[in-house]
């Protein structure tokens, strides 16, 4: 290739070239959603705490320390005195108080507002049941002390604080460009934005790239080694792979599964595949006549040969799943209530009135248009045909049609996936509450609801809490409202010069710790 590649010049100047998937909706931490947005927003802004990419444990960030009351309901944060906004203003507890007040404005339309709901009266304030913000458990005791009161002890509360929806925003800037509850005013444009994170916004060219540069006034600036990060909004995994091969990217947002065999053979170190807190499932519409019978649902689940699917079509990118929570989430191990067992499945199907699949209605399996979903569906369709002798019709749908049909119950079996919002089994459990907007299977169980909504939150310790989750999950999997298929993985192409990009189940990166070490020094080390 002509000239110096991005990798060569980037390694020389500590500029990371980062494949970021999609173009950003915007940069307002309280309004945006999505992983691509997360990657940029967390470089520009900083919350009370951050996470270690190594351990996923929280570390001090804007708050230098904190204490928790004995009943686990009152958190007191000490804001760092040397934390500054990019315009030189000091970052204070008042900034947090105002920012969180803003995030709770219903007119703002923050989609992650539920992250605040463990806080006392936050939900009521958001729903405008109370209008007095002083009743909400958020209080700046002085410029550098922030007190937060919770409804219940919430073991994962510290994890939430690292979410961008709880980052502080700069009041004067927002008020200069519009009203606090107005989303998407011009305050986030490169020429206007004021931030408090380790990097500053340098430029944003739509569909081309977004560049951030090191913030030398950041309180922890000596820790930051990258001079710049260039984020590329590349939606096509194939295009991304070509750019990686042409030394234009250090890191890609994903790995096209088809390319895996070639890389395994020729450049195995470039591919990084790690478990990820997400589960790929087939939702079953429990209201459809022939799928109401739990024996039918179990028969379907038992005839998905997950091991073969992973080894062949999916190129060992994922691990088989038999429950909703991924294994080993902060020490929680999900139950395994069933296994691949075609004989038992046939027996169950016969008991349900369909011996040898006779009389079983043609069933539609829907998925949103995507190559990987298509492949999985094709393989599973044949497994069901072969083992149960039932006919399943595949139907791909455009994303919004698919969502609409799933939300309105206009489906029989529907591909689904769930990615945890935070590192705790709860993020996989509370979605299956009876009538939850994400449940969409029509399944519900009052004992399950009680375990997840009451027993677990009120549990005295982690063991008791996990025991409640385990009981709930076992109960649910015995009902099989959906078919778990595999645990997600994060998969990226990574240039060997990239260091400090630790792998973890959240696929969380802390750009403060990332740096580039050119090949020469690599070789000396080896």
């Amino acid at each position: 290739m002509q000239g110096e590649s991005n990798i060569d010049s980037g390694n020389r100047q500590q500029i990371l070239h980062f494949g970021n998937g999609a173009e950003l909706q915007g940069l307002d931490p309280h309004v945006v959603t999505g992983i691509a947005e997360h990657h940029v927003v967390q470089a520009l802004f900083e919350g009370l705490v951050m996470k270690s990419a190594e351990t996923l444990e929280v570390e001090p960030a804007a708050a230098e320390s904190w204490s928790v009351s004995d009943d686990g309901k009152v958190y007191t944060f000490k804001i760092r005195k040397n934390a500054r906004w990019s315009n030189g203003d000091a970052l204070t507890a008042k900034d947090f108080e105002w920012s969180w007040w803003r995030a709770l404005q219903p007119a703002l339309g923050s989609q992650y507002v539920f992250m605040y709901f463990p806080i006392e009266n936050a939900e009521a304030f958001f729903k405008q049941e109370i209008t007095d913000f002083s009743k909400v458990g958020i209080k700046a005791l002085d410029d550098y002390t922030l007190q937060v009161r919770l409804n219940n002890p919430t073991p994962y509360f510290m994890q939430l604080l690292d979410h961008y929806s709880m980052f502080p925003v700069h009041r004067a800037t927002i008020e200069k460009w519009g009203k606090p509850h107005e989303s998407y005013t011009r305050w986030t444009r490169p020429e206007n934005i004021v931030t408090n994170g380790p990097f500053l916004l340098e430029s944003w060219r739509l569909n081309k790239n977004l560049i951030v540069k090191r913030n030398s006034d950041y309180w922890g600036a000596e820790r930051v080694r990258l001079n710049k990060i260039v984020y590329y909004p590349i939606e096509s995994g194939v295009t991304e792979e070509r750019m990686f091969r042409a030394s234009q990217l250090h890191w890609t947002d994903e790995v096209a599964i088809e390319r895996a065999p070639w890389y395994r053979e020729n450049n195995p170190d470039a591919m990084r595949i790690k478990p990820y807190v997400g589960t790929y499932i087939y939702r079953i519409n429990n209201k459809v006549d022939h799928l109401k019978d739990v024996r039918v649902r179990k028969a379907l689940a038992m005839t998905v040969d997950r091991d073969t699917l992973m080894n062949t079509v999916l190129n060992n990118f994922f691990t088989p799943a038999y429950a909703i929570t991924p294994p080993g989430l902060l020490g929680y191990q999900p139950p395994k209530t069933f296994s691949y067992d075609p004989d038992k499945a046939r027996a169950l199907l016969a008991e349900a009135g369909y011996p040898n699949g006779d009389g079983f209605p043609v069933t539609e399996l829907q998925f949103n248009t995507n190559d990987q979903h298509r492949k999985i569906a094709i393989a599973i369709q044949q497994m069901w045909k072969k083992e149960l002798n039932i006919d399943v019709r595949l139907q791909n749908k455009d994303w919004k049609v698919y969502l609409d049909d799933e939300a309105t119950g206009n489906f029989e079996i529907s591909r689904g996936g769930w990615i945890g919002d935070y590192v705790d089994p709860n993020t996989f459990m509370d979605m299956w509450i009876t009538g939850s907007g994400i449940n969409r299977t029509g399944w519900g169980n009052s004992r399950y609801d009680e375990l997840v909504l009451k027993t677990a939150p009120e549990a005295k310790n982690r063991e008791a809490r996990y025991a409640a989750f385990f009981e709930a999950e076992t109960l649910m999997m015995n009902d099989m409202p959906f078919i778990p298929i595999y645990t997600y993985s994060s998969h990226h192409f990574v240039h060997p010069s990239v260091k400090g990009m630790a792998s973890n189940v959240m696929n969380y990166h802390n750009f403060r710790d990332v740096y580039l070490e050119p090949e020469e020094s690599n070789r000396q080390e080896n």
């Binding site: 290739m1 909706q25 989609q111 569909n207 295009t239």
Partner: protein, 315 residues
């Protein structure tokens, strides 16, 4: 002539109005809305969002609001990229896409007309079969296939040209222009050959030849004019199609263009963006179809005379 152009531009107003109205109501019928996501938005937030964008009003009121804003030159904010106004997004993507479409059109015309004329002059010989077979291959070869293939050959094997980008590295505009232009070149070649064959057997060409004019003059001055009429009729919609069709090429080569906005807006149910890009595209189509019709008229002497009488007769 001016009168004809004026008349056509007047006709454009009801066309645009019809397109806007039909699009406005059609897109609302498509399942799913701009704020639907796998993780459903909690109801209070959804209500807030809908109020913010007037989506809670009755449809006809929304329509009137939209028309009113549009009249003031405001296409509203995009739903998918709410930090940007629709016209910001269109303007941000336009330069790259327009440039790409222009180069692709040049590729199509240069290669297509040359191949088509060459084939028509010696029909049913190697000079006909070879370019026409290549043209057929060009037609079989959709952009999603040709693009990666060219990248593989010129980017990775020969290492002559950059594999992506637009205006970042020298020569990075060549492969995208070729990719987008190739299919059109193939069409132009086929249409040129057909049109030329038609014309070459006409009397006025025979007359010109009989007068002893050199073959080159006969072809360039007389035959091409008539022979390219089908090409010109094709080019009007084709140029607009180039803009819309640049989506695939923009994705393959990572070009910051308009095509991506145009296609993704539909998938995202980004109502304002769909309307904005549709208005933009239909204006282009009207203008380019007009240009193409004018060219066709100019190229056909018989029509040129008709035009003044026709336009006059109907107004």
């Amino acid at each position: 002539m001016l009168r004809y152009i004026g008349l056509r531009l007047l006709q454009a107003i009801p066309v645009l109005f019809a397109v806007i109205t039909a699009t406005f109501f059609l897109i609302r019928q498509a399942p799913g809305g701009p704020f639907d996501a796998e993780k459903p938005v909690i109801p209070a937030v959804k209500r807030a969002l809908e109020a913010k964008y007037n989506l809670d009003l009755p449809m006809w009121q929304q329509y009137l609001h939209y028309l009113g804003d549009l009249f003031k030159g405001d296409m509203g904010p995009s739903f998918k990229y709410p930090g940007w106004a629709v016209h910001d997004l269109i303007l941000s993507g336009l330069p790259a896409t327009a440039e790409l479409a222009l180069y692709a059109l040049l590729v199509a015309l240069l290669i297509g007309v040359a191949a088509g004329v060459s084939a028509a002059l010696k029909p049913n010989t190697a000079r006909d079969y070879v370019p026409m077979s290549l043209a057929m291959l060009g037609i079989c070869m959709p952009t999603f296939l040709l693009g990666p293939l060219l990248v593989l050959i010129f980017g990775f094997w020969l290492q002559w040209l950059p594999i992506s980008g637009w205006g970042d590295l020298p020569g990075d505009k060549i492969l995208p222009s070729l990719t987008l232009g190739a299919a059109y070149a193939a069409y132009v070649a086929r249409l040129t050959r057909g049109g030329m064959l038609e014309v070459m057997s006409q009397d006025y060409i025979r007359t010109a030849r009989a007068k002893g004019l050199p073959e080159r003059v006969v072809i360039v001055k007389h035959a091409l004019r008539g022979g390219l009429i089908p090409v010109v009729a094709f080019l009007g919609p084709a140029f607009a199609g180039l803009l819309a069709g640049s989506f695939v090429v923009e994705t393959i080569f990572q070009i910051p263009g308009l095509g991506r906005f145009y296609v993704q807006a539909a998938f995202n149910r980004d109502y304002t963006m769909i309307l904005g890009t549709t208005i933009f595209l239909s204006t282009l189509i009207i203008v380019f179809n007009l240009i193409s019709d004018l060219l066709a008229t100019w190229m056909n002497p018989k029509l040129r005379n008709q035009l003044s009488t026709k336009a006059g007769g109907n107004t």
